[in-house]
């Protein structure tokens, strides 16, 4: 249906569309545009009475900001590794639940619990688990005569600790999505493969996996974008340290906006990130469309 063919229904159409248009303009677009405008200003909320236009100075600064570059690199590493771990655990868990084990619903409920916890609580829990004085993980290593690992005290182990905690929180989401995709596969296909002599591995790789690829891409895409912007657990568990080894990009923006109160520059970083994520998201949608097409054929 086109605008021309609507005829007298145009008014009703416009009225019906109005709430959605107002919502998008006021709730979505206006704050984004305000952020873009702020990105062109010098505005320290403590010391400046009002934003002062400084044109592209903040963008010039961003180009030479090595700390931001490092934060972006760390965010990419964190997002890719955390997503990979979450998908791997989620896939294994989904396959387990799809095999209909006894007490499945109860087990599934317990498995999903971390997902409904506030990220800051997850961070606190894992901080305590890794704590050298009271934490059970270092204690376990000591009991087993394992290496004396300073979990949140060295750059590599601090990043690993963050990835563990993120995987603990979000692998259940991947599992839930993949489990629902597996459940949609007709059981007859399993039976047919079995009667043809397929092993469990063959059944999984030849029958199940090709049909859940679309959902894998969805789960991976969702987690990748979310993990890229991780903040809460970083603040609670490592504060971005040691050094800046776990200072992800959200933490960097947070520091600019709420520790240095430099809202102008923080907005510039946000705007740039938004542009980068938009490009990544466009690629993702394009790939997702292709994956769906190939899954259907």
């Amino acid at each position: 249906m086109t605008w021309a063919t609507l005829g007298r229904g145009r008014l009703a159409f416009a009225l019906l569309m109005l709430p959605a248009v107002i919502y998008v303009l006021t709730w979505r677009l206006a704050p984004a545009l305000y952020t873009v405008w702020l990105s062109l200003t010098q505005y320290n909320i403590v010391y400046d009475a009002a934003p002062q236009l400084n044109h592209l100075e903040n963008y010039r600064r961003i180009v030479h900001d090595s700390t931001l570059g490092e934060a972006l690199r760390l965010s990419v590493i964190f997002a890719v590794l955390a997503t990979a771990v979450e998908l791997a655990i989620g896939l294994a868990a989904a396959a387990f639940f799809d095999s209909d084990p006894p007490g499945r619903n109860l087990l599934l409920g317990i498995f999903l619990l971390p997902m409904i916890m506030a990220p800051v609580v997850v961070g606190t829990v894992w901080s305590a688990l890794f704590d050298r004085t009271v934490g059970p993980i270092p204690y376990l290593f000591e009991l087993l005569h394992g290496p004396d690992v300073q979990w949140l005290g060295t750059p590599v182990t601090a990043m690993v600790g963050l990835i563990f905690s993120d995987a603990w929180e979000w692998a259940p989401l991947a599992a839930l999505l993949l489990f629902s995709a597996m459940q949609a596969i007709p059981r007859e296909q399993h039976d047919a493969a079995r009667s043809d002599g397929a092993s469990s591995w063959q059944l999984f790789f030849r029958v199940v996996l090709p049909q859940i690829t679309g959902m894998l891409v969805v789960a991976g895409g969702l987690r990748l974008m979310d993990a890229f912007l991780e903040l809460d657990k970083v603040i609670v568990m490592t504060g971005g340290g040691p050094g800046t080894s776990t200072q992800l990009v959200s933490m960097y923006v947070y520091k600019q906006a709420f520790q240095a109160y430099d809202l102008g520059y923080a907005s510039t970083v946000i705007t740039t990130l938004l542009a980068l994520l938009a490009v990544a998201y466009a690629f993702y949608l394009r790939h997702y469309g292709r994956t769906l097409m190939s899954a259907r054929t």
Binding site: G153, T154, G241, P242, G243, T244, F258, A260, D262
Partner: protein
């Protein structure tokens, strides 16, 4: 299946749950107003001392017809909340907690009405008796000649040490013979205090969490080595790579091997728990932080075993030096009850009021000489009085962090560099040279240097 087959019970339960949620969520926002009472609001951190403050304020405020409703936030969020509310014209607050490093920002953004504005009236001045405040503790709350918050809780930095161990020459000698070190780190099973240590025992416990804890401890070493706090305040030249600064960084880095593991993520409270658990010979912290854990029998195995002394310095002209903290409630500039707020502060933070506060929070380090000199206080809080007398008579070289707009950024650059050095990512010297370049860039951008 129809709705009727479920019956009404789920619907009823759902409705009850919604009502309970609404009531619970709305409860804390309500500001009750008892008949004839003025209700003041307080925005501050949920620390023991501020909960004590609210309790005493409500007890002493009754006579004045004043009650106080607190709203607690994480410490670091208090100023942000007050600032954003103030910029938005929100008039919800009357009293807001302030920390000395926030004072320049508070002054610039006019979030508070200065206490000194009230003190310009003779009646108020005689009520408060500002000459009674210990100057070494209150300077951090002053800026541009004005007092911005009411002095409540001093936090001079001191060394807390295990007097039972470090004063023992045999312990020191045996330790040095075995480890060839003056520091008191020992392994589980080694003898400490005449018996085998149940856990590893460390030379020094320091808070090393990024976000200020680490830098605040490092500041003490900087001033001890005669270094600037990041920059020369006269020339505005960054001095992170000066000889003194690099010497301080190297010293701090070598100190790291005697620290408790996990110090990289420990705040002040976590550090004092380790000290109080009889696992540390020495700690450097704000006096009230140490007192609030190490001297509390329910929390500490070392009650009565801790001695307090001023921080040493290598600069001959000032044998003791530290960067002090100060805390106090200020009066929110948009307060609807600023006179009542002032009257209440004058009452609660008077000599008698402070003594009441100390009953609720025994680790409180008062900012009034009349309290320190009170015979009953001397009797009831001997450790605090011992330490404060050391401060008053020893007159350590006391500085507060400089009122610089870019201070937080500059501090973070140096803190990150130090943290990287402690983690072994960089040498202390290399880390400080890199930090210097960043601070120089920051100062150039701000227009302080060319």
């Amino acid at each position: 299946m129809s709705f009727a087959t479920h019956g009404r019970r789920p619907l009823l339960l759902g409705a009850v749950a919604v009502v309970v949620l609404v009531v619970v969520s709305a409860g804390p926002l309500q500001v009750s107003r008892a008949a004839g009472m003025t209700t003041l609001t307080f925005l501050g951190p949920k620390f023991d001392e501020w909960e004590a403050f609210i309790k005493v304020a409500n007890a002493l405020g009754k006579d004045l017809g004043i009650e106080v409703k607190p709203e607690y936030l994480p410490w670091e969020d208090v100023f942000k909340k007050a600032l954003i509310d103030s910029k938005s014209g929100v008039k919800a607050w009357d009293l807001v907690y302030a920390y000395n490093t926030w004072v320049p920002g508070i002054a610039a953004s006019k979030v508070f009405t200065p206490i000194s504005d009230f003190l310009s009236k003779p009646a108020n001045k005689s009520l408060v008796k500002p000459e009674d405040f210990i100057k070494e503790t209150t300077a951090g709350l002053e800026f541009q000649g004005k007092l911005w918050a009411f002095p409540a809780l001093a936090a001079p930095y001191v060394l807390g040490y295990r007097a039972d161990l470090l004063a023992n020459a045999d312990e020191r000698k045996a330790f040095k013979a075995k480890y060839n070190s003056q520091f008191f780190t020992r392994k589980k099973g080694d003898t400490v205090g005449g018996k085998a240590a149940e856990e590893d025992f460390y030379g020094i416990c320091l808070a090393g969490k990024p976000g200020g804890f680490l830098f605040h401890r490092y500041e003490m070493v900087l001033v001890a080595f005669g270094a600037d706090l990041i920059y020369n305040q006269t020339s505005m030249q960054p001095t992170v790579n000066s000889n003194e600064s690099i010497a301080a960084a190297k010293y701090y880095a070598q100190l790291h091997k005697y620290q408790q593991p996990g110090s990289e993520t420990h705040s002040g409270g976590g550090t004092q728990r380790v000290f109080a658990a009889d696992r540390c010979a020495l700690t450097m912290d704000a006096l009230d932080n140490i007192l609030s854990v190490a001297e509390v029998p329910s929390l500490s195995k070392v009650v009565g075993k801790v001695g307090y002394t001023l921080l040493p310095s290598q600069v001959a002209s000032r044998p003791h030096a530290h960067v002090a903290d100060a805390n106090g409630p200020g009066i929110y500039a948009l307060s609807q009850h600023e006179n009542e707020a002032f009257r209440l502060l004058a009452r609660v933070l008077s000599t008698e009021g402070t003594k009441e506060l100390m009953k609720e929070y025994p680790a409180l380090v008062p900012m009034r000489a009349s309290v320190i000199n009170d015979p009953q206080i001397k009797k009831d809080y001997p450790k605090m009085v011992e330490a404060m007398n050391a401060v008053i008579t020893g007159k350590p070289w006391t500085v507060f962090v400089p009122p610089l707009k870019e201070w937080v950024q500059a501090q973070e650059m140096v803190e990150n560099a130090l943290s990287a050095a402690l983690a072994g990512q960089k040498t202390p010297e290399g880390a400080m040279i890199e930090a210097q370049a960043k601070v120089v860039e920051l100062f150039k951008r701000a227009g302080y240097i060319k």
